[in-house]
Symmetry: C2
Subunit: 329 residues, 2 copies
Amino acid sequence: MAVTIHDVAKRAGVNSSTVSRVINGKATITPETKEKVYSAMRELDYHPNALARSLASGLSGAIGVVVDAQDADAFSNVFFSRSLFAIEQVAQSRGYQVIIANGANSHGTRVETLVKERKVDGLILPPSTVKPALMRSIGEFPYVVLGMPDTLRGDTCWVDNNNEQGGELAARHLLDCGYGSLAYLGGDQKRGFTKRRVRGFRKAAGEHAPVYSTDGTAEDAYAAASKLLKSENAPCAFVCNDNLSAFGLLRACRELSLPVPARVGVVAFDNYPLAEYTDPPLTIVDIDTAMLGEQSARLLFRRIDNRTGCQQIMLSTALIERKSTERMK
Amino acid sequence: MAVTIHDVAKRAGVNSSTVSRVINGKATITPETKEKVYSAMRELDYHPNALARSLASGLSGAIGVVVDAQDADAFSNVFFSRSLFAIEQVAQSRGYQVIIANGANSHGTRVETLVKERKVDGLILPPSTVKPALMRSIGEFPYVVLGMPDTLRGDTCWVDNNNEQGGELAARHLLDCGYGSLAYLGGDQKRGFTKRRVRGFRKAAGEHAPVYSTDGTAEDAYAAASKLLKSENAPCAFVCNDNLSAFGLLRACRELSLPVPARVGVVAFDNYPLAEYTDPPLTIVDIDTAMLGEQSARLLFRRIDNRTGCQQIMLSTALIERKSTERMK
DNA sequence: AAATACCATGCAACCGTTTGCATTAACAGT
DNA sequence: ACTGTTAATGCAAACGGTTGCATGGTATTT
């Protein structure tokens, strides 16, 4: 019922293989023949069947982006969606589809299925999925990790922002502004990226600069900050592990009537769309999530094209100065 | 190289069609035969080739979720990602993949390609893509619009929250609290959902209740609110078209030392993760985006299974009372 | 002019499933 | 014991492309 390559071939008076070659541009074809084929295609409104194409070529024409979200909010996290947008753009420019897969619940079987059933030609994985068992199972299959895996191996391809540099950048900025004692607020110390941010933070703030972990909610950061700010030697400035922690901190400052940035300085990681609209607007260690997505997709396609080579890409972070910090005279 | 259904068949001592039937469970098979096939599959670590399956069955095993985003932020909008999460869950439970496609740039050709090249078995579309030309082109192909299309036709399948009811709910709540004069802030009056929200708002607040449109940024809402609040007969309470507008409004109130909720009441549409952490936390007309996603996916699969029938689903919104409104004595 | 090279196209096998129809065997009904 | 059903499985033709090899023809070389 649908028009096939054979219908086009018949109409153009050529063989279907010729039509195929015209479509794929993989051989020398006379201009006249080309023209005949093109007009036949146009006249019949022909669209190649991607399914048949995939079977014959052995390529699915899709890449998979795996997410590891328990709940909708982790999924909707800006980091993920901005990267996804960029990934989709790169894929689109190559004629590839992007399949998203939430693989949290099943121990990697979701990912394995994608690979083994040939539903994708490559994968972009979150660091949490990078486990020896899975890696062994997918073998040479092209994949790129979006984020630095906790267990580093030389043969793993990944793209990440430089969290250590970011932590250092934030602390140094606060120091340059003239804030005295610094503290790090928020985050789970078991997560690799938090550890790296803290490491950078301490590089500038001193090896014994205090670090206060939270459960990741603004509520918890608020509680921790309130307690802290009331204490004897309260820190003058904070590097927050994320925007939510900064929100909690800001609230605590407001309630204790500690003006930001005059009395307390705040720098936070991640650039939520709303970070500009807090009171005061947050100074931010910006992570170029779009670039992260773009680079990971490009790297993945490089691996798909040519299975050799493995790279790690690290992107620097940048400071966006807003109103939650100020240079003191 | 990869193990095929024939390898399994040979090992189990049966015909490949039998293996196929075992896999798909579409015929009566002796328990012994079944067992033989299963163990052969296990021993060979067989995974059916989804590509071949698709070709033979004519089903791609994927649905497409189309986005209409110019830039990364529209893409990362919570509405979209929470729905996407839910859609993915439903699809996963049916063994389907979810393909995301950003179709803004090309006048529907992206969507057409997905359909014509048989890359998806169904589509979830944003209202903006619903144009006669596209609809004609994809014909009977199963799709569901996530959001009420501006041009309503009886044969279009859609799922949306009840914006009119939400607008009314918000206004009525403010009235119940005892706020005097109401105004609507933010949004583009050309967008259908804004119009519907306003219509509901006016149903409760009165046909001539003022409406102030903005370009959608918090900045613009801030400017509009500042000017408005300084004027003679400033409104006592606002229904904001979105969280960003509410942010701008809150800032204006803060600067003018108008306490919220004592002097000014604020209700906003959409429940951003950060709306809980503003100062004061926002009273919200909550839109169950996850449910929206789930319903649209379920409806889509119903259409894929059985091409007849077309439905419209409208979900009620709910009010989440927080601290930006209060009942006055 | 004959030999050589190469270009454009056709032929047919193959990619790994699904599925309608044919076949066989077993079993029930008379 | 013989035929009519039915249940389980096999056979082979699709599904709609891609691609290695063969072929015929034209252009280039000697």
